[in-house]
Amino acid sequence: MRHIISVLIENEAGALARVSGLFAARGYNIESLTVAPTEDATLSRMTIVTHGDEMIIEQIIKQLNKLVDVVKLLDLSEGPHIERELMMVKVKAEKGMREEMKRMADIFRANIIDVTDCSYTIELTGAGEKLDAFLQAVNDDLIMEVVRSGPLGISRGEKGLGLSTNS
């Protein structure tokens, strides 16, 4: 099963390497990993998307918790949560094709954030499937470059991952 795990980790040199090293050394699957500092500069927040059966996910969570730098974590997939991913796509947009491309962006509620004489850069935020759908909708030959952030997640309602919240 796919799991999305949020981790609060000390913002120390090597902390990211400890997490990625753990996944590599123990052969855990890792689909995406994003990390950035939080409102508290001493903490970073990671979002990890992984796959595995129940026993493996249990081990992943335990092994992450065992890392001395990990302060707290939450398996978002266990409760209601929201996921968003950011994607930037550079597409060919030469004369004659520009209108069509703009319409496509509108349909997907995407933004065109950069324009040159031959290209558009389109920004799109949403669940992973929405981003996939956009890429499928655009003719392969027109796609010059794609960059995706990997999903970010946050739980809904009371529950959450913070130093003071219950998780």
């Binding site: 980790i9 000390e10 040199a13 090597g14 390497a17 400890r18 090293g21 050394a25 026993m55 249990e58 081990q59 335990k62 092994q63 918790n65 065992k66 001395v68 730098d69 990990v70 302060v71 130093l163």
Partner: protein, 577 residues
């Protein structure tokens, strides 16, 4: 009080109550060595290879329960220490390893003797630190010791760049009285609800087995285990790392389990309806084939490390907590019950166990022509049983013979590399034990291949007057490798013959020790007596043994507990009967 970084390192060690540091100097740690030069309260023991520094600190930690400390330089000093760090990590031994590093501005520039040791050791330490400011040394040292000894213990490495210990930089020194980390909160007591659930299963069990590992030794819970066993009359088996946690002479003890465990221990595991695993981790050498492991049993698992639970084997009642308070609670709740474990069922169970015991699986054919390794260990026990005795071991057949044939009555007396299986461990580990207990008798059982991996430490023993007794069971083979080649590779003994051996007795003598060569079974006991009588001398006993003896019983890797190979001698005898 303002101190230099190097002085702070030394002060921190003293604050932690460190008595000994095993180490080897080099450029990056020269400031620290200079601070040690004036130091009286701390004894530094100069080893001859950094691997030995870590093994010696490790042996000290295993024998005393205190944190062992090693100090090495950057680059090659640090990489030489890695094997010892990994060895300690696999067996959860509390250690702090201080490594020198190139000055902060040079880090990442491939400077002379630079190596990314925090990167290299990340997968084999409990935690590591790179200290970038002199102001941070005290707190980092306090954290390192705290992490090493609490929770599931383990090695912690502190990498200290040379400029951080520069004598020109002084900062105020205050050692933290208490360490508290928001990201590291080791568990204490187990959840009492879970313990009660476990007790429910225990009173219902008809064929229970208590299976305990190194965690009982590390958690100082032997006495609590003994009480629990005395109260329940449950049979108990130990892993290689757990030997001594229950007295070998205790009637309830079935011997070691696993690959070279006893018939009765493995059969009891296979037939059990309840396994109570305490401070053990279901290692593959213990479980054999997972699909066939304890097929009929419910499993209770007590461990301080949640990640150990349900890692290899799904358990029914997980209990995360320090082994000692959990065992105490278990006994308390059992005693509160009106009815205890089912006596009739237990009687029947013990009767079955007796039939397995009667097989006498460790029986061997002794000889009056050639020394059998089993006999060498039995005789060692005979000669040392009344002594305050510690036995370390290297890795191979001799290790298994020692585990099978030396009955350990107390914890922390059997010191060997279980998880990593590191050849070269035995001699330096014994140095650490002897340093901790100068009056005790410390012996190391080894093989002619293993001993050569750290033999240079005979010099350290000479310099520091360590009167170890080294018992080399010399079969001329990497016996354990040869045994596998005999069984699984049609006796193609590819590169497992140890040729060009030195005369070990003479070699020991050139280091200033006493050397002996013993070839006749009839001479062995007298030779041991003579050797152990030499209180102040290291005696190296080169015991020439049967070159092709095998370790039995044996479960092949990937087979079930009931599929044991027994000694051919024993099988023949059984057929005759």
């Amino acid at each position: 009080m303002d101190l230099t970084g190097a002085e702070i390192v030394v002060q921190a060690l003293k604050e932690e109550g460190v008595e000994y540091v095993w180490g080897y100097p080099g450029g990056a740690v020269l400031h620290i060595y200079d601070a040690l030069f004036q130091e009286k309260a701390l004894q530094h023991i100069l080893v001859r290879h950094e691997q030995a520094a870590t093994h010696a600190a490790d042996g000290y930690a295993r024998a005393t329960g205190k944190v062992g400390v090693a100090l090495v330089t950057s680059g090659p000093g640090a990489t030489n220490a890695v094997t010892g760090i990994a060895t300690a990590y696999m067996d959860s031994i509390p250690m702090v390893i201080l490594t020198g590093q190139v000055p902060v501005p040079f880090i990442g520039s491939d400077a002379f003797q630079e190596v990314d040791i925090t990167g290299i050791t990340r997968p084999c330490v409990k935690h590591n630190f790179l200290v970038k400011r002199t102001e941070d040394i005290a707190e980092t040292m306090a954290k390192a010791f705290y992490i090493a000894r609490t929770g599931r213990p383990g090695p912690v490495l502190v990498d200290i760049p040379k400029d951080v210990t520069d004598p020109g930089v002084r900062v105020p020194f205050e050692y933290p009285k208490k360490v508290s980390m928001r990201s590291y909160k080791p568990v204490e007591k187990g959840n009492t609800r879970q313990v009660r659930k476990a007790v429910d299963l225990m009173v219902k069990a008809r064929r229970p087995v208590v299976y305990t590992g190194g965690g009982v030794v590390l958690g100082e819970a032997s006495e609590d285990l003994r009480k629990l066993i005395a109260h329940t009359h449950f049979p108990v088996t130990n892993t290689l790392m757990g030997l001594g946690s229950i007295a070998a002479s205790d009637d309830h003890f079935l011997g070691m389990l696993g690959m070279h465990g006893t018939y009765e221990a493995n059969m009891a595991m296979h037939e059990a309806d309840l396994i109570i695993a305490v401070g053990a981790r279901f290692d593959d050498r213990v479980t054999g084939k997972l699909a066939q492991f304890c097929p009929n049993a419910k499993i209770i698992h007590v461990d301080v490390d949640p990640a150990s639970i349900s890692k290899n084997v799904r358990v029914d009642v997980p209990i995360v907590g320090q082994v000692k308070p959990v065992l105490k609670d278990m006994l308390k709740f059992l005693k509160e019950r009106k009815s205890g474990p089912d006596k009739a069922a237990l009687k029947e169970w013990w009767a079955r166990i007796k039939t397995w015991r009667d097989v006498d699986c460790l029986k061997y054919a002794n000889s009056d022509k050639v020394i059998k390794p089993q006999y060498a260990i039995e005789t060692l026990h005979k000669v040392t049983r009344r002594r305050n005795f510690y036995l370390t071991s290297d890795v191979g057949q001799h290790q298994m013979f020692a585990a099978q044939f030396y009955p350990f009555e107390k914890p922390r007396r059997w010191i060997n590399s279980g998880g990593l299986g590191t050849m070269g461990f035995g001699l330096p580990a014994a140095m650490g034990v002897q340093q901790a207990f100068p009056k005790a008798t410390v012996a190391c059982v080894t093989g002619e291949a293993s001993i050569q991996m750290c033999i240079q430490e005979l010099a350290t023993c000479a310099q520091h007057d360590l009167p170890l007794k080294i018992i080399l069971l010399n079969n001329g083979y990497m016996g354990m490798v040869r045994q596998w080649q005999e069984f699984f590779y049609d006796k193609r003994y590819s590169h497992s013959y140890v040729d060009a051996l030195p005369d070990f007795a003479k070699l020991a003598e050139t280091y200033g020790h006493v050397g002996m060569t013993i070839e006749n079974p009839g001479d062995l006991e007298a030779a041991y007596k003579e050797a152990f009588g030499m209180k102040d001398r290291l005696v190296f006993m080169n015991v020439i043994i049967d070159p092709e003896e095998n370790v039995y019983p044996m479960i092949e890797a990937g087979k079930g507990h009931h599929e044991m190979h027994m000694s051919p001698h024993l099988s023949a005898e059984r057929e005759l009967a």
